[in-house]
Subunit: 203 residues, 2 copies
Amino acid sequence: MDAPEIKRMTPARQTGAARARLIAAAARLFQEQGYAATGLSEILALAEAPKGSLYHHFPGGKAELGAAAMRGAGGLLRATLRARHAGAGDAAGAVEKFAGDLAGWLEESGFKRGCPVATVALEQTPGEGDLAEAIRGALLRTIDLMAEMIEADGAPPGRARSLALTALSALEGAMILARVEASAEPVRAAGAETARLIRSALG
Amino acid sequence: MDAPEIKRMTPARQTGAARARLIAAAARLFQEQGYAATGLSEILALAEAPKGSLYHHFPGGKAELGAAAMRGAGGLLRATLRARHAGAGDAAGAVEKFAGDLAGWLEESGFKRGCPVATVALEQTPGEGDLAEAIRGALLRTIDLMAEMIEADGAPPGRARSLALTALSALEGAMILARVEASAEPVRAAGAETARLIRSALG
DNA sequence: CCAGCTCTAGACCGACCGGTCTATATAGAC
DNA sequence: GTCTATATAGACCGGTCGGTCTAGAGCTGG
C-alpha cells in the first residue's frame, strides 16, 4: 500500500514520502466514498501535500494516482491471503482466515471502508486505460493465486478456477452487504460457507 | 423499474411519464458509471426532461431520484427471483436460473452495466438518509426472500440465512468480476457453485 | 371561460471540480 | 561555492456540478 519506493540509480533522495502518503490517502478515501466522489483537494488535505507534489509524482493526475492505489490494494490482498495460506496449510482454511481479516478491517473502520478495488471498479467503464488495467490486474491476480492454492490441494484445474472465482466473488459481495448492514456477519458467513464448498469439492 | 405509477385519487392526469423516464435513465446511468460520476444533466438528457420536471417529481433532488431508482431495481431483482423460483420449484434451482438472468443482462449491455444497487451502495457512507435506506431495503429484502426459499426446502433458519447471504454475496461479487473481465463466466460459476452448496446443505 | 392545479421549460447561481502553471525550497555533483 | 534535478507550494483557470427560481403550457372542475 505504501511501499518505500525503489531507490533511484544516481540521485538517491531521501524523500518519496509524499508519494506514499498520497497513495495511502487516495486508497482510504476511495474505500469510503468511491473514486468520483473523492476530490483531489480532499486527498491533498489528508496526505498533507500540495497539488504540485501530486502532479510531480503522478503526471497522469487522478487516474494515475488511482491506478497506483489499486496496485497497492491488490498487493495487500494477495500478501494477506498468502500469509494466511502459509498458516493454515490448505486453501479452504486460508480462505476462511482471509475472510476473517477482511471482516476485521471492516469492523475497525466502523464499516465506513469497503474493498477499494471493487468500489473503483464499479465506477469505471471497463477496458479503458491505466486505471481499468490496474483494477483488472488486482482482481485477476488474486483469483489466480486462490485457484493455485485450491489446485495444489488436489482439485482439477477447471474446478479450482470456478471455486476461486466464486470464493472471491462471495467475499467481495459480502463486503458490500457488510458495509450496508454495518455488520461483519455476511463476510464471516461467506468465509465459512465458501470454505465448506471448497472442502466438499476436494473430499 | 418503470412501473406505471399508481393513479392519483382525484386529478388523474395522463402523464407521470416523465417521472418514469427519469427513474429509468438514472438507474441505467448509475449502473454504468456510478452515482457520483453521473451528472444531473446527463440524466436529464437521456430522459429527455428538463430540470424543472426533475425537481417537481423529486423535490429531494438527485438523492431522492436515486432512492427511487434503488427501490425499482430491488423490486426487479425480487420479481425475477420469484419468477425463477416458481419455475424451478426449489431454491437451488431458482438461484442458478437467477444467476443466468443476471449473466444475460450483463452480456446484453456489453458488460457496461453492473448491479445498480451495489454500485450506488459502495459510494454511500452507510446509514445516512433516504438513499442509504433504499439501498439497505433493496438488498435485505432480497436476502430475506432467498432465505425463505431455502428454509422452505428444509434448511434450519440460521443456516438458511447464512446460505442466502452467501448466495447473494457471490452473485453481487461475481457481477463485479464479470464486468471487469468482460465475461459472464464468474456469474455462471457463482450460480452453479452456490446451487451446489445449497443442495449439499439440504441433502 | 377562467381559476387553479400539475407539470414542463430552462436561465441562472455559487461552489467545487481536475488540471496547468510559475516560483521556490532542497539536496547532491563537481 | 555554483549548477542542476527533484520536489514542494499554491495561485489560477475554464468547465461542470447540484440546486433554485420564475415563467408559461396544458388540463380540468366549477
